[in-house]
Amino acid sequence: AAGVIQSPRHLIKEKRETATLKCYPIPRHDTVYWYQQGPGQDPQFLISFYEKMQSDKGSIPDRFSAQQFSDYHSELNMSSLELGDSALYFCASSLVDTEAFFGQGTRLTVV
């Protein structure tokens, strides 16, 4: 069965640079979620989209933005990167009222 696809799997950026993470949800899933998992930490909810509209917002820094496109894929844009942004970024997708399925994550390292 198709799963949530995230790209790239690994990304290394320097401080103050910009990064774009992509997420391709499971076909026909209408909701996308972004989570951030710092080293040794539990995943923290960042933001979600339902039918291309932002549906919920968590602890997402103002330097980050995200959107969901007409084909339902989503992108998380991160600017002015800081060392503390180094983390594993998960995307998940679901239908309304079903559990979320997570991608394998993008590991971002800021140096």
Binding site: T31, D42, P43, Q44, F45, A92, E99, A100, Q104, G105
Partner: protein, 113 residues
């Protein structure tokens, strides 16, 4: 605010023995409760969820969890642990019934051959 507590950092169990991973929650209303497992360098894999109904929920890979409202607990159990069950287990709660999940800190499970 909702919160999830997983009191043990690591759970060690011998292969073939019962496995229990503890989780307690604090949330107003009727929560949706979840268990996810994370293998090294992998994403979170859904194991099971409780929404309503029977307090004993059966999930993937032989896991089950028991919802106890009076103790606000949702412990994960498996009757006979396998070495391949060694992973990081996260309990999560959704007070709104959606997938905005609040995760616990996770429990590292080590199954000893």
């Amino acid at each position: 605010a909702q919160s999830v507590a997983q009191p043990e950092d690591q759970v060690n169990v011998a292969e073939g023995n019962p496995l229990t991973v503890k989780c307690t929650y604090s949330v107003s209303g009727n929560p949706y409760l979840f268990w996810y497992v994370q293998y090294p360098n992998r994403g979170l894999q859904f194991l099971l969820k409780y929404i309503t109904g029977d307090n004993l929920v059966k999930g993937s890979y032989g896991f089950e969890a028991e919802f106890n409202k009076s103790q606000t607990s949702f412990h994960l159990k498996k009757p006979s642990a396998l070495v391949s069950d060694s992973a990081l287990y996260f309990c999560a709660v959704s007070p709104l019934g959606n997938n905005r999940l609040a995760f616990g800190k996770g429990n590292q499970v080590v199954v000893i051959p």
